[in-house]
Amino acid sequence: MEKYQAIWFVLWGVLWAVYFMLDGFDLGAGVLEPFLGRNDDERRVIVNTLGPVWDGNEVWLITAGGATFAAFPAVYAELFSYLYTPLLIILFALIVRGVAFEFRGKEEGAGWRRLWDAAIFVGSFLPALLFGVAFGNIFQGLPMDADGYHGSLVGLLNPYGLITGALFVLLFVVHGSLWISMRAGNGVGERAQALAGKLWYALLVVAVAFLAYTKFATDLYNNFMFFKVMLVLPGAAVLGLLGIKVFQAKGRPGLAFLSSCVTIVMVVFTGLFGLYPRLLPSSLNPAYTLNAFNSSSSEYTLKIMTVVALVFVPIVIVYQILIYRVFRGKLSVEDVKGDTQAY
């Protein structure tokens, strides 16, 4: 039983990490779209680099949610009902963003396009920020006990929650600008690459602040004291962060993007290893903390879900990689204009 509970904690972490790695760049690119694109054509190029992949990326969120429900029903129930309002905002944001991609190009008027550009910006920025705020608060623990949840939306916006939110936003915006630098032609890519170089310094400052603050606001480092070998996780995150700058400066967008993938995955792993085996800690009384061992589904259900995950998730990874390969290379304004099916 404990074995499957531990496996599902790991799978749960992998699903979130992959989700942030993938949706991270399209959320980041969405934040940048209205600013990095100087005119409608350039903005269309940015949107169309995301076109083939954003939807498949977002399914990692659905799967992370579904896996939480199936493997840790109590966590799913409490997390989602306690964080009702922030989740609602994330949901509204993802909804307007999704339709904005589809609807933006369906009408010519400048007002119409501006409306959906705004939707893409807001719909990308809020999830990036609020996922960070949510995880920052989970790292600290939520005020919950026998009487349920005692927090509020304003209470979530505490300094540590906000700095985690800022970390997520900057991680994703750098990630997104590296994606654009890899995929967009007509000078947009070059501008994105330069921007990534500048934003990197902001990311570095916030990342350092986050790591230091984590020492005081949470007990995430305790697990690392017992298992020092796991310090490879934050170590890899730091290497990834440095890799971004090195490869960005050398003009190697692909490797820089890969480095930022590593950074995001390792940041998530670092946080979740520090949390293990807890999924939803109580800041009031550890007796009410939900962990992998007191909140999971039955062994039978976990076994079934393990089989499903081990068979199908690799298949998904394979075909998603194939799709990314089909859509490699730079996209130009001419490409987009010549394609009647484009966004």
Binding site: G65, F69, A70, A71, V99, Q320, D339
Partner: protein, 436 residues
């Protein structure tokens, strides 16, 4: 209003809205995949134009279906936390499997299909829309197995204060869920058939792109006829399965108050739930209800009075929705039969009246699917899991009236706005025709 009522209203709104877009996706994905296959096989450019035109409408509809689906997955945890805790062990699995097995496939290959016209070969491109169509339908399977479990829970034991799964195969082979899957799928195909026929009728009436739209119409008419006949057939089996598994729902669907053997079916009924009787019962066909429900002319049909009032669903909504659904279902068979005949004899242009009827019939299958879900969900009340957990015991305890009122207003405004924009775009591109 309290958290329970507001949460129920909210779930009704977000589920109903989501289900405006899903049925067309289910059916139109198959029609578009078929068109593209014809193009790849024959090289006939007209099929390519058809693929692109109907594909564009498919995508405008698809976008909202996808994003509003996320809401539903979140809803269980946000508003129905007690439910999620109680049944997550068995109910969470089909939802997670749906995402892993179906939703990934659908969302990944839709990207390849939309943006891959110049990047992959013709066959791979056609394959990608087939994968989308298959995945969409597979998605419906897992969702309806989950819903089927709420309707007729199987394969679980009550243990550790919750429902725990003990037999996954029982969940997957739950007859209730499978019949519901068949019924829902076919209803989606009928929605798509009438959508294509209606839009085609609009253009045929204006003598535009006649060859294009007559071919589309003919394809949809055949599809619509086969599916609407099968739909009624599966519906009949589904109904008799409901009789066995959910006697209170059946009694409410037919507004039967007294238990009787050899129960007749009345064509005209006006329920009077206040006095636990029907104000009007006329044109009865003897013993038909017994036969329809149990395949036995003399079988006993349970009346609502046999159940405590606290266990009965709202009769009026269930009854009226069921009647409307069945009536519309019959109409779809007649209309698609006429459509096949007129289309085969190539008389569509000379029957503008019929074309107008088909144009204005576009909303009808949508209405039928919506009232069908009212039968399924309202008829299950007061249970959220039939016979196991009551809806009132399932709602989240940690959310406030203000929060839910706020989200309800938010959803209503946002969805209202998106609905208007979507209908505007669909109408615009449908009217434009394939030339654009």
């Amino acid at each position: 209003m309290d958290v329970l009522t507001l949460s129920r209203l909210q779930f009704a709104i977000v589920a109903a809205f989501h289900f405006i877009f899903v049925p067309l996706t289910l059916g139109l994905s198959i029609l578009v995949a078929y068109m593209e296959t014809k193009y790849v096989r024959t090289g006939d450019e007209q099929y390519l134009r058809m693929t692109k035109f109907w594909g564009k409408l498919f995508l405008i509809n698809f976008a909202i279906g996808i994003v509003t689906g996320i809401t539903l997955e979140f809803q269980f945890g946000m508003n129905w936390a007690e439910y999620s805790k109680y049944v997550g062990d068995i109910f969470g699995a089909p939802l997670a499997i749906e995402a892993t097995v179906a939703f990934f496939l659908e969302s990944t290959f839709i990207g390849l299909w939309v943006f891959g016209w110049n990047r992959v070969g013709k066959k791979m491109h056609a394959l990608s829309i087939w994968l989308v169509a298959i995945a969409t339908n597979l998605s419906a399977l897992w969702i309806l197995l989950a819903n089927g479990w709420m309707q007729h829970p199987v394969g679980y034991v009550l243990n550790n204060g919750r429902a725990e799964m003990v037999d996954f195969m029982a969940l997957v082979t739950n007859k209730y869920g499978l019949l519901k899957f068949g019924h829902t799928l076919l209803s989606g195909y009928v929605v798509a058939a009438f959508f294509v026929m209606g839009v085609s009728a609009y253009h045929i009436l204006r003598k535009r792109e006649l060859e294009f739209f007559k071919r589309s119409f003919a394809m949809a008419a055949g599809f619509g006829l086969v599916c609407s006949v099968l739909l009624a057939g599966v519906g009949d089996f589904h109904g008799s399965n409901v009789a066995k598994t959910q006697p209170t729902k059946l009694a409410a669907m037919e507004s039967v108050w007294e238990t009787q053997s050899g129960a007749p079916m009345y064509l005209i009924v006006i329920p009077d739930p206040k006095h636990e009787r029907n104000a009007v019962e006329a044109l009865g066909i003897p013993k038909l209800l017994s036969f329809m429900s149990y395949r036995d002319w003399n079988a006993e049909v349970k009346g609502l009075k046999d159940f405590p009032p606290d266990d009965r669903p709202p009769v009026m909504i269930t009854f009226l929705s069921f009647r409307a659904m069945v009536g519309l279902g019959m109409l779809f068979i007649l209309l698609s039969l006429a459509a096949v005949v007129l289309s085969r004899k190539d008389r569509l242009e000379r029957t503008p009246m019929f074309l107008r009827i088909m144009l204005y019939s576009i909303p009808l299958p949508y209405i039928a699917t919506q009232v069908g879900w009212l039968v399924a969900e309202v008829g299950r009340q007061p249970w959220i899991v039939y016979g196991v957990l009551r809806t009132r015991d399932a709602v989240s305890t940690s959310i406030s009236t203000t929060q839910v009122l706020g989200s309800l207003i938010g959803f209503t405004l946002l969805y209202g706005f998106l609905g208007v924009v979507d209908i505007y775009l669909l109408t615009k591109y449908a009217k434009k025709g394939p030339a654009a």
